[in-house]
Amino acid sequence: MIKKILVANRGEIAIRIMRSCREMGIESVAVYSEADRTSMHVRFADEAYCIGPAPSNESYLVIDNIIAAAKKSGADAIHPGYGFLSENAKFSERCEKEGLIFIGPSPYAINTMGDKITARIKMQSANVPVVPGTIKPISDLKEAVDTIHQIGLPVMIKASAGGGGKGMRLVKNEEDIISSVSAAKSEAKAAFGNDAVYIEKYINSPHHIEFQIVADKHGNCVHLFERECSVQRRHQKVVEETPSPIMTEEVRREMGEHAVAAAKAVNYSGAGTIEFIVDDNLNYFFLEMNTRLQVEHPITERVVGVDLVKIQIDIANGKELPFKQEDLKQIGHAIEVRIYAEDPDNNFMPSPGTIRHITEPLGLGVRHDGYVYAGYEIPIYYDPMISKLIVWAPTRREAIDRMRRALHAYKITGIKTSIPFLNRIMEVPAFIEGKYNTHFIQDHEELLKPHTHASRRLKDVAAMTAFFDYLSKIETVKKNTFCKRPASNWKNTGRRNNLNRS
C-alpha cells in the first residue's frame, strides 16, 4: 500500500492532491523549482525538495531530478497532476523501472492515445465514432468526390501539405462539390506544389463535451458522465459545467458506453477523459483522450459525489472500483470557472505580481481550489491560472446565481484577474439559457466587454477615498481618530443622516 506520494507538480493541483493524501493518511512530498520556494505547495507538503532552476524544462520537466527527489524522500509513488510530465510515457516507464508507482495509466495507453492517428485507428476498431474523414491524402478528383459523398456534407477540404488556410475549402452544398475540390487542388498545387487533399466532416457549431472514466486493474471501467467545456478562449477552457445543458438521457448513455469502450480499447487503468466534438443535433465524434486528471475534474466530483484523486490512488494500489455503473448518478448541477492572473480588459495580458489581499468566496455550495496567499508573488514562469471556483446547486439556474454571488465576493488585489470577465459570462443570455457552443466567446464579444460606466457618485467616492488616504499619510488628519478603531459614532450617524435629509 502506498504510504508516501511525491507530487510532481505545483500550484492548485499539487495542493488538491496533497489534500486527498492527507485524508488517506498518506504523506506528501513536494518538489519545487527555485522560483517556487515560497509557493504554497512547498508549505503544504510534509516534505519538499528543490529540483532545479525556475524554467520548467530545468525543473518540473526533468525526470532525473524528480526521480532523485522521490528516492531521497523515500516516496513509493508519484502523482503527476496535469500538465508537465502527466502525459509523458517515458516518465511513466521510468517510474516503473525505478520501482515507483506511477499514479496514472501504463506507458502503452499514454503512447497509443498520445498519437492522434494511432488513437483514431484504435477508436475506429472499437466502434467509437471518430470525425469522418480521410486518413491518407487524395489526389484523384473522382476519389475525392466519392469520399465526400460517403462522409456527407458539410465537409472541409484541406491541402495535405497545407497550412495557413491556403487550399482550404468548406463545402456545404451538393452542387459545389466538384468545383470546390478542383479549386482546392489547384490552390494547393500553386501554394505547395502538391495537389493532394484531406477531406474531413465539418462540424458546424461544435460543442466540446467530455466524459470522465475510471478503470481499475481488474478490467472494471465506468464513466462518471459528461462535462460541457464549450466556453473556450483560444482553445483554453474558461467555464465548464455538468450536466451539459444540451445532453439527453439517451445520448448520455450512448456516449458513456463509447467512452468506456475507448478506455477498454487501450486496457486503460486510472482516471481519464474522453473528449468528443458534438454538433447541434448531438452527433458526436471522438476527439482525443486525456490520460490524466483534468483541470475541471471537481465538477464531476461534486455532482457524482466522489473524490477522483482518492480513486486514482486506490486504483494504483490495485484495489477494485468501489462502484458499478448503475450505482452512479448525477445529482444537481455544478459549474467551474478558472481564474487567471490576466487582464481581461487589456487583451488578456498576463498579470503576474504580488497578491496583496485575497478574500475567498465561501458558504453553501462553493468550492474554491487555489494556491495563492496574501504576500505571495506569482512567478512569471508558469501557467497563469491561480484558482478554480466550483459551485453546486440543485438546478442549473441556481448554480449560475451562486456562481455570480461567489464571483461577486471573490477579491484578489495586487494583480489583475479574469474575475470581471467571468462575471460577464454569467450574465450573457445565451449562457444563462444554455445555448452556446465553442464560438460562444467570439459570438458575444460585445456583451463580454467591460462595462465602463460609473456613476458620478461612485467616482466621487473613489476620489474622496484616495484623497482621504493621502491626507492621512501626510498627517494633516490625525490618523488615530480615523483608522482601525471606530470611535462612538452613534450620535454622528444620527447627525449625518439628519444633515443629509434636510
Partner: protein, 167 residues
C-alpha cells in the same frame, strides 16, 4: 485647503471640510458628502454613504498616484499638489513620445527583431516577450530609429524596464 484630483481623464476640486468621529465631511466640485470612512485592512477602506456600503481598495502606484478599485470599476487617481503641478508643466514636452520600448509586466525576452542603427517602420514588431506561457509582440507606433538595444534574448526583465531605445 482645496486640492485638485485627476480622476482618469477629468480633473476635480476636492476639500476636506470637517471630521467628527469617523465621518468626514468633504466637498467635490461643490458637492458635499458626509463619508463614514474606516480603513479596515491595509489599503482597504469601508465606506458608508447615506447607508450604502462601499468597499474601496487603494493601490498606490507611484508617489501621489493610486489605482482605486471598487466592486466593478477601477479608477486612476492622482493627487495634484503644488509640487506635482510644477513638475507636470515641466515634463509635458518630453513625455509626449516615449523614447523606449518597455513591457507592463515582468517576463523574458524571446526574440529581438532589430539591432542598433535599424530604421523600423510604424507597426513593425521590434521585440517579443513571454510571460506566463504567453508571448506578446511589441511594436513601434511610428517610423523610428533604433539607437540602443539594452537587453538580449533570454534575459529576464522587469515591468516598465527600458528594453530598446528609440529616436
Amino acid at each position: 485647503m482645496a486640492y485638485e484630483i485627476k480622476l482618469d481623464e477629468e480633473t476635480v476640486q476636492i476639500e476636506l471640510l470637517e471630521t467628527e468621529g469617523h465621518v468626514a465631511e468633504m466637498m467635490i466640485d461643490g458637492r458635499i458628502y458626509f463619508l463614514d470612512i474606516v480603513e479596515v485592512e491595509h489599503g482597504v477602506y469601508s465606506i458608508l454613504l447615506d447607508g450604502i456600503s462601499y468597499n474601496v481598495e487603494l493601490l498606490p502606484t507611484e508617489n501621489k498616484k493610486y489605482l482605486v478599485n471598487t466592486l466593478y470599476n477601477a479608477f486612476n487617481i492622482e493627487i495634484i499638489d503644488a509640487e506635482t503641478k510644477y513638475k507636470n508643466s515641466r515634463r509635458k514636452a518630453e513625455d509626449e513620445d516615449l523614447n523606449f520600448i518597455s513591457t507592463p509586466m515582468p517576463g523574458k525576452v524571446v526574440k529581438i527583431l532589430v539591432k542598433e542603427g535599424d530604421l523600423v517602420k510604424g507597426g513593425e514588431t521590434v521585440i517579443i516577450v513571454s510571460a506566463m506561457k504567453m508571448e506578446s509582440e511589441y511594436k513601434v507606433v511610428k517610423d523610428r530609429l533604433i539607437t540602443k538595444v539594452l537587453v538580449k534574448e533570454g534575459d529576464n526583465i522587469d515591468g516598465h524596464q527600458p528594453l530598446i531605445m528609440l529616436e
